[in-house]
């Protein structure tokens, strides 16, 4: 969160229970251009493993995954 990077899409995934945060990121990835990013905020700790695992297995990239004030903030880059 240090450097304010503007994402192509902001996803509010607060309150969603795993695996739904991963599902929502996956559903929305096609709506950003290749090279574009999604900033997703989730509250379920399971997402810290789920979203990176989804990104790796689908060939996308998690630029950052941080815990900020009990929330989990992800920057996900669409690579293909």
């Amino acid at each position: 969160m240090s450097e304010e990077m503007k994402a192509d899409l902001d996803l509010d995934l607060k309150g969603l229970l795993c695996p739904m945060p991963m599902v929502k990121v996956s559903q929305n990835i096609a709506s950003v251009p290749v090279g574009g990013t999604i900033r997703a905020v989730a509250t379920d700790p399971g997402s810290m493993a789920d979203i990176p695992a989804w990104a790796k297995s689908t060939g996308n990239e998690v630029i950052s995954a941080e815990k900020v004030d009990g929330e989990f903030v992800f920057m996900v880059k669409r690579l293909k």
């Binding site: 695996p19 991963m22 599902v23 379920d44 700790p45 493993a49 789920d50 695992a53 297995s57 689908t58």
Partner: protein
């Protein structure tokens, strides 16, 4: 499409062939008694959702490729090649099915349409037309276990966060969420979400159970996707863990399909008998209450409560009474839906549908019957031990303004347990 490719696709059917499937394909009389059993057909009146029609698409391939009469007189059976058109129809019919098997219940020959559709999905996957989202979720789950070292710390950190809440709720600074504990009695397999871990951890703590939490989630998108190999590998993650830790039983969280996969499918898939029991968490909680290992206040919930039998837990899993026992032990006004138990209507959220956004509108529409059933009880709280059911019923609650609260049974138990912790009112999903 090339003839060669169509023959290969038909070959998938041959590979999946077994006695039950062959009989289902041979004996269906197309009487269509199943039409009013399917919530999707009843809600949409769309032919492609009629159970016998869904199975008929596979039968058309079977007749053409695997029966002499169908080969010589295809017109008699409307036998077809698995061409693009048929595959498109198959996709719509197969991936929409929630696998509730209500049609099988009413069929005079007990034809398992969902089983036939599992072959449909295998054919679609072989043609590169499997549902993308479900495939991705299955791959993500396997990626996590194949590269476990990469995720282990993050997963354990997540557990530690939840552990703090367990300490707070139980008022016991030594309360813990044991992980990787050799020789524990129970391996508890939760979902990735904290909501499925916290209440169980508190209940196990209060019951002084010897337990350990699995690193892996019970959810199995390989099963919904229709890839039997991936489905098995996903379940293997915690089954191997159970073997390694030498537990007496694997306890599956409040999730429908994961329970059926673990209890009914896994032994058959792996060809190996489990050295442990597999139980649903509600069987365990019911036992704890009966044996007095945990106590619940009998009037903890005074608002009317109803219970939805998830298809994979009830009709397809055999757990009908334990959840009702639990709810009746803590709620003063329990009202069953009509029909219920083995005749219960599917809520519409199964089969992985909640993860497929293109199906959102259709899915909610298919839940009309369930919404009406819930309304008729006048209940304010609906409890159900399946994540997909709860997601669907929350969707129905919003779209049809039912004004209900959707809860897991464990949530209710937690509310009803006298706990020493200061913030016992905190509900786990907050």
């Amino acid at each position: 499409m090339e003839t060669q490719q169509m023959t290969t696709l038909a070959g998938v059917l041959d590979k999946k062939m077994n006695r039950q499937l062959k009989q289902y394909l041979d004996i269906c009389a197309r009487c269509a008694i199943c039409k009013d059993a399917c919530h999707q057909y009843v809600a949409t009146q769309d032919f492609k959702y009629l159970p016998a029609r869904r199975a008929e698409l596979i039968r058309q391939i079977y007749k053409k490729y695997f029966t002499k009469t169908g080969e010589f007189v295809p017109a008699l059976y409307e036998a077809r090649d698995p061409d693009e058109n048929l595959l498109d129809e198959l996709y719509e019919s197969a991936y929409a099915c929630t696998g509730c098997r209500r049609c099988m219940y009413y069929c005079p020959f007990s034809i398992d349409t969902a089983w036939i559709l599992s072959v449909a999905k295998a054919i679609l996957i072989a043609a590169g037309k499997g549902n993308e989202m479900l495939g991705q979720l299955a791959d993500a789950a396997l990626f996590k276990s194949d590269n476990f070292e990469m995720f282990k710390d993050v997963i354990v950190d997540g557990f530690k966060d939840i552990e703090l809440q367990v300490k707070e709720l139980t008022g016991d600074p030594d309360a813990e969420i044991p992980v990787d504990k050799q020789g524990a009695d129970i391996l508890y397999v939760a979902l990735a979400g904290a909501h499925s871990i916290l209440p169980a951890a508190v209940i196990f703590h209060e019951a002084k159970a010897s337990w350990t939490l699995s690193y892996f989630e019970a959810a199995n998108y390989g099963y919904f996707f229709g890839d039997a190999v991936k489905a098995r590998q996903i379940a293997d993650r915690f089954m191997d863990e159970a073997k390694r830790l030498g537990v007496k039983e694997v306890v599956i969280t409040e999730c429908g399909h994961a329970y059926r996969v673990a209890e009914i499918f896994h032994e058959a898939w792996s060809g190996e008998k489990h050295s442990f029991k597999v139980r649903h968490i509600l069987e365990v909680i019911d036992e704890y209450i009966t044996d007095g290992r945990i106590t619940v206040r009998p009037d903890a919930i005074t608002e009317p409560v109803t219970y939805h039998d998830p298809c994979q837990v009830g009709r397809n899993g055999g757990i009908f009474e334990q959840p009702r026992n639990i709810v009746c032990a803590l709620a003063s006004d329990f009202r069953d839906m009509t029909p219920n138990r083995e005749q219960q209507w599917c809520c519409g959220g199964g089969g992985g549908l909640v993860a497929i956004s293109e199906m959102d509108e259709f899915r909610l529409k298919s839940g009309t019957i369930k919404a009406e059933q819930i309304k008729a009880t006048g209940a304010r709280i609906i409890a159900s031990p399946c994540e997909n059911c709860r997601l669907q019923m929350e969707g129905l609650n919003d779209s049809m303004e039912l004004g209900i609260e959707v809860k897991a049974i464990m949530d209710l138990v937690l509310e009803a347990m006298p706990l020493a912790g200061s913030s016992a009112k905190v509900t786990p999903t907050d």
